[in-house]
Amino acid sequence: MIAITDLQKIYRMGDVEVRALDGVTLDIAKGEFLGIMGASGSGKTTLLHMLGLLDIPTSGGIEIDGTDVSLLNDHEKTMFRLYKLGYVFQDYALVPDLTVMENVSLPAMLRKDLTEKQYHDASIDILTKIGMLDRQDHLPRELSGGQQQRVSIARAIVNKPDILFADEPCANLDTENSRMVLDLFKEINEEMQQTIVMVSHEDWHKEYFHRIIRLQDGKVISDGTTGTKAH
């Protein structure tokens, strides 16, 4: 599903060169729940941003579902993100002026292949699934952190993306809420065969992953399955 070849990302800060990613080569299979772990500054988020087309690699290639994403122009990348990718951010990143329903519906509203009824029904289904339907008219500021993150997940999967990217989604949550979010990821992964790539630095999260890669100084230092069964 995702093929990464010799991915490099070099930032230049004045005369200093920082290798955020240094020759990462990796394949991610469909339906996999992959954890990217590593210390701060190891390149986890950079890798996630490269895979999610939020940043451009210095060199190397990324193929998603057979598409060489480096060949896409700006608009095509936007459409690729809209139709094929979903994102969950550490700080939820909900639009503060939109209600829960509007936040969840937003990506679906832009799809040309969905009618108003279809995206509304899809949003209702997702909100029901995450147990937030009764909060559909609330604004993000009226929700707890855990609830906001669940809404953020709902927004990410409303378009039924091929791949879901999550960048430390539990970083701002307590253990109870973190577990709730991870359970939700697990459920989505199992029920919808949703490919999930999640960045985390919490060791206990690994029980949820099928496979974990560890990064250090922009390089993959380990890549292994956890024993949790992938689909």
Partner: protein
């Protein structure tokens, strides 16, 4: 950009305004509204002054068209034939002669210089609303002799001491009093004051009126001569049409429209008004543009991370740009509506309480076209001011935006 994208952009804009900082929205609308009012108020007032002066000149001085002696002549001669000719023309409501003599008015110990205007009272009613402006007594009868009507400032106020007067007067003449008029040709005659009028037009108010019949006794030349003839056009006939018609029909005197005369006498003033209007317009546009630019720039700067997030979840940069564009459009439209309401409110207030000076009185003169043109100008300025920062921020790459 499809319909769906525009719908999403509009939703984002609407929600941002509905649920964002209410004080910022209200303040922005207020500023745009005040800018609109500023854009239209001064020109409207100047137009009102111009309209007021024009109306008063037409009503109390020269009508729509003035027929005055041709170069080298002192009077419009052969008056009877000339009046018959003019009054018979299509489009002419009425033509009436004025014969004016300088004189000294005397009342008790007071002496005052004034113009004595001889009119044909019945014809004058078709030309001038003077007869409706009587504040005491009555208007002149067609063949009155020995009777005069005088302006309120000429009559004066008995309760004001002479040294305290703003404008010299006869010190409190009342209807029925007798005043002496000492004409420039040495003819002295006592008149009974038949009425006192007040028009608000200083030149008319500082004059006195007698009948042409009476003036013929004072100066025999008044019988078949006039200083000028005022011509009133029928509704629907333009001044220029009447002027051309008079010339075409062989009126050999000097023929000028009110516009011709005002252009000569007020040309400089009108030019000054135009410059002030232009400065006012430019300043208002600049203020509106800068304010909206700042508002949208601050909004976009504060929302850079959110813009990055929106792009990350697949919202196209055009949608993001139009989101801010729609916000500006909504703010601009609401500001313009507020401005129109304030302006119409001011116009209504000034219709009841006009600006009054000793020379003229004026209200706010604003046409629907003025409102439309200023609305369009301000709207365009607002759109430019909003779209520039929106365009810039929507082009920012996701990483830079998300790191903000």
């Amino acid at each position: 950009m499809g319909k769906k994208e525009l719908k999403v952009a509009f939703l984002l804009a609407l929600r941002s305004l509905q649920r964002g900082s209410r004080s910022s929205v209200i303040l922005t609308i207020l500023i745009i509204g005040m800018c609109f009012t500023n854009m239209i108020f001064l020109p409207g007032l100047f137009n009102g002054i111009g309209q007021s002066i024009t109306k008063q000149v037409v009503d109390y001085e020269i009508g729509n068209v003035l027929v005055s002696p041709k170069s080298g002549d002192q009077y419009v001669s052969d008056l009877g034939a000339t009046l018959s000719l003019i009054n018979g023309m299509p489009g002419v409501e009425r033509a009436t002669p004025h014969f004016t003599k300088g004189a000294t008015l005397k009342y008790r110990q007071r002496i005052l210089g004034a113009s004595v205007r001889a009119i044909s009272p019945n014809d004058e009613k078709s030309i001038s609303p003077l007869y409706t402006k009587m504040i005491a007594g009555s208007y002149l009868g067609q063949d009155d002799t020995g009777e005069v009507i005088i302006g309120k400032p000429v009559a004066g106020d008995a309760s004001i001491r002479q040294e305290d007067e703003f404008q010299s007067s006869l010190g409190g003449v009342r209807v029925g009093d007798s005043i002496t008029i000492d004409y420039g040709n040495g003819y002295v005659k006592d008149y009974r004051v038949k009425g006192i009028y007040f028009t608000g037009w200083s030149q008319a108010d500082s004059a006195v009126y007698v009948t042409s019949t009476d003036m013929a006794l004072v100066d025999p030349k008044a019988v078949d001569n006039a200083d000028y003839i005022t011509v009133k056009a029928k509704p629907g006939y333009s001044e220029t049409f009447i002027k051309n018609e008079l010339i075409q029909y062989g009126v050999s005197q000097k023929v000028q429209t009110t516009s011709d005369l005002l252009a000569k006498s007020m040309g400089r003033a009108l030019q000054s008004f135009a410059i002030i209007n232009m400065v006012s317009l430019i300043v208002s546009i600049i203020i509106t543009t800068v304010v909206l630019f700042i508002v949208i720039t601050i909004k976009t700067i504060n929302s850079r991370r959110q813009i990055g997030i929106l792009k990350a979840i697949g919202v196209d940069k055009e949608v993001i740009m139009h989101n801010y564009g729609f916000q500006v459009i909504i703010l601009g439209v609401l500001g313009i509506i507020l401005g129109i309401i304030v302006t119409l409110g001011l116009a209504a207030y000034m219709a009841i309480h006009p600006v009054v000076t000793p020379e003229w009185s004026a209200t706010l003169y604003i046409t629907p076209m003025d409102l439309l043109v200023n609305s369009v100008i301000l709207f365009c300025a607002a759109v430019v001011a909003g779209y520039v920062p929106a365009y810039q921020v929507s082009r920012e790459d996701i990483q830079t935006a998300m790191r903000a």
